[in-house]
Assembly symmetry: C2
Homo-oligomer: 324 residues x 2
DNA sequence: CTGAAAGCGCTTACAG
DNA sequence: CTGAAAGCGCTTACAG
């Protein structure tokens, strides 16, 4: 059996109240008593049970993170930063991979509520889900609007889309196509598309956007794009994985990059930078996004509801590689 | 305030014992009572507090996962599979990114113990850490020996190393070099190196292995390799990220792949397959590794200590792409 | 079929 | 400076 606070008390020859006080460093305790208690704890290898503490305190220091899939480098890196920041602040992270499935998301959310998490960070496509608000749970969303009451943190999608498109124009591309996720999702990432379309129109060009669905093979759509627009000489893909697929298709068709086709992605994760360093991309400040999201979440947890912006868009950075 | 079981009982007009029985579907309860209770729960939006349950049951259904860094596609994908399997079995996952730092690992382990996890899955480089055994905690390791008592699950590293080396030989490479992590770590991944060296010797070749340290820029070591062995025409890298760096360096030097240099990696994650589909690699069955590790962990948790192998090496698969 | 009581391992007023 | 008691939200013998 695991030792409990009473075992420690018995060995130290004090009451469990005193042991608790030593543990929490609260109230006045004589040095001698402290030492006895510490020695006893070490002797029997005692670790306090956080379940019991949390039950009493009504505070678990537990944060839930719902992402589509940590296999995707962007979410994997986001999870890393969020977890690291949480750990440094004494919070623990419950990881949930929703695969963007609404049924899974609902189940996870209920699980998190049952486990009394102090707050939830959500990267999800599904809106209006299971009373995110009804439970008066602290929630922060990353790159997705969930409701009027849930703050959103993300990168400057409009600025990023603008930079990407302008870069392709500046490099002399005549026929620029954009690839993005489904427009129905109404994510801030749609701003990348809107920026593309705005810039194109500004320059008197016709914007053309192809849609791919998340977590699905993009190859088919991309192949169609090449078939329908053989003149394409610039592609702005709304994430790096799509950009990589474009590069692969281009190679397959013997279309040289960057001379015949220039490609810009979006995300700029560490992994992609190592694996495909030549990819030109708009890099999101993933660490900053994580930091900001946690900041806002903790403010909510502490009961401050007006001390943070409802929307935060952090600056992106153009990483120019060989694909432009 | 969140409603508790007594609130439900009051509304349903029964005792909290009865509510608990309905919740746990234990003992005999009349249909009428059940309905009343369910209605009451819904009415006040009641969710049971798993903290209190766990405290009583001495079972949290919580699993800890310690990995170096979920930004790395291999660990990100592993975390995805482990979490998914856990979720399907009613377990929840506490994510820990150790960055391979022993101090962080120790802190995480203590955190997990305090949170009463039922078991821990560990992917770590540090051996003999904080009484992994002393706490009689259920533990399973992935791809790393931790101690005589901790079961290990991984891919068939020797077989994979053999396949990779033999492929390069078969393709006619005359001068094959291997890149691996530090030998001191004594991970099963060292078997990839041993396999390479064995095969080389079998064929009367001189094995040459360069070492890179994890989570550090590999470019320097790789550059040195190219300088010191300009004749190199085959490289077996012990993971895909190293392989990608080799490809980048090769491009930089104008050495054509695959005509002048052939490259084989190891891991074969989904992400790398999308981002760099042309990479020839030895693919680990990450889903199977996750499944097997959880199986073994759950057996330990259930008290079966002899019903599983101490070491499990799952079959790998050669994915041949354009780099060979 | 249902309820009162004790207890899981803690912490915090309240006394002293 | 220290301890006895009550309670966090559950569950499970034990009665009835």
């Amino acid at each position: 059996m695991k030792p409990n606070i009473h075992d420690v008390a018995k060995i130290a020859g004090v009451s469990s109240t005193t042991v608790s006080r030593v543990l929490n460093n609260r109230g006045y305790i004589s040095e001698k008593t402290k030492e006895k208690v510490y020695k006893a704890m070490e002797e029997i290898n005692y670790f306090p049970n956080d379940l019991a503490r949390s039950l009493f305190n009504k505070r678990t220091n537990l944060i839930g993170l719902i992402i589509p899939n940590s296999s995707n480098p962007f979410y994997g890196e986001l999870a890393f930063h969020i977890e690291s920041i949480c750990a440094s602040l004494g919070y623990k992270l419950l990881l949930c991979n929703s695969l963007n499935r609404i049924d899974k998301e609902e189940k996870y959310l209920e699980m998190l509520i049952r486990n009394q998490v102090d707050g939830v960070v959500v990267v999800t496509y599904n809106r209006g889900i299971l009373n995110y608000e009804k439970q008066n749970l602290s929630v922060v969303a990353i790159d997705h609007y969930l409701s009027k009451n849930i703050p959103v943190v993300g990168s400057d999608n409009y600025g990023g889309g603008k930079q990407a498109t302008e870069l392709l124009l500046m490099k002399g591309c005549q026929y620029i196509v954009h690839i993005n996720g489904p427009i129905e999702l109404q994510t801030p990432a749609n701003l990348r598309r809107i920026a593309y379309e705005d810039v194109m129109k500004e320059h008197g060009r016709l914007p053309i956007t192809y849609e791919v669905s998340p977590h699905q093979n993009h190859q088919e759509v991309i192949s169609k794009l090449f078939d329908e627009h053989p003149e394409v000489d610039g592609i702005f893909a709304s994430d790096d994985l799509i950009a990589a697929s474009v590069i692969a298709e281009s190679k397959k068709r013997g279309k040289d990059i960057p001379t015949q086709l220039k490609v810009v992605g979006y995300d700029g994760t560490e992994a992609v930078q190592v694996i495909l360093p030549e990819l030109t991309t708009i890099q999101q400040p993933i660490d900053l996004i994580a930091k900001t999201a946690i900041d806002i979440l903790l403010k909510q947890i502490e009961g401050e509801f007006n001390n943070f912006p409802f929307e935060t868009y952090l600056p992106v950075k153009l990483l120019e590689g060989g694909t432009t």
